[in-house]
Symmetry: C2
Subunit: 105 residues, 2 copies
């Protein structure tokens, strides 16, 4: 199985797939094709997340006002309940993310 292969969602869309069954630690491949979080939407996750951008460019905003611009290889640790949203993702190429969700800290 290969991370670089797989379907790309339509323009503006996002797809996510678990790479192994989620038994408490979710490892997922995400493709964001110019996707942004809806206006006013914030992720508020039950689990910690470690996420790396493997292709494309993206910007993540946090509820405390921080913004992180990400390029290929940049990774973030987002503790559970740290509210965040996706401000932008590139479409050419689409953003490819690898995320690990679990009790990480």
């Amino acid at each position: 199985m290969n991370l670089w292969e797989g379907p790309t969602p339509p323009a503006g869309g996002e797809s996510a797939e678990a790479l192994i069954p989620d038994k408490g630690v979710l490892i997922e491949r995400i493709v964001s094709n110019g996707h942004v979080s809806p206006a006013g939407f914030w992720y508020d996750q039950e689990r910690d997340e470690w996420v790396v951008l493997l292709q494309g460019q993206a910007e993540v905003a946090f509820a405390d006002g921080r913004r992180e611009k990400l390029a290929s290889g940049d990774w973030l640790f987002i503790p559970a309940h740290e509210r965040h949203r996706i401000e932008s993702t590139s479409a050419e190429p689409p953003c490819l993310w690898l995320a690990v969700h679990g009790s990480l800290k």
Copy 2:
């Protein structure tokens, strides 16, 4: 912090660094610069491992005789105590791995 950046071990060597503190789930960046497991050595790990090769080419052997040739983007799930060894890793470019160790199944 960026996965593509960081020191490369000397020829024949391997380096590994935890990207966040290991509190039960270890997320590590590994660089193998033409490294192979010593003759007769087998990994026999306490934890499950999910691992992806992000750069280079590698070959992993399993105690049951299976061999997996890996290219960039290929990933493997290795259950705890599944004995395996690294038969080869490329040096040009060095292999860059991202591994997640934990209770994954």
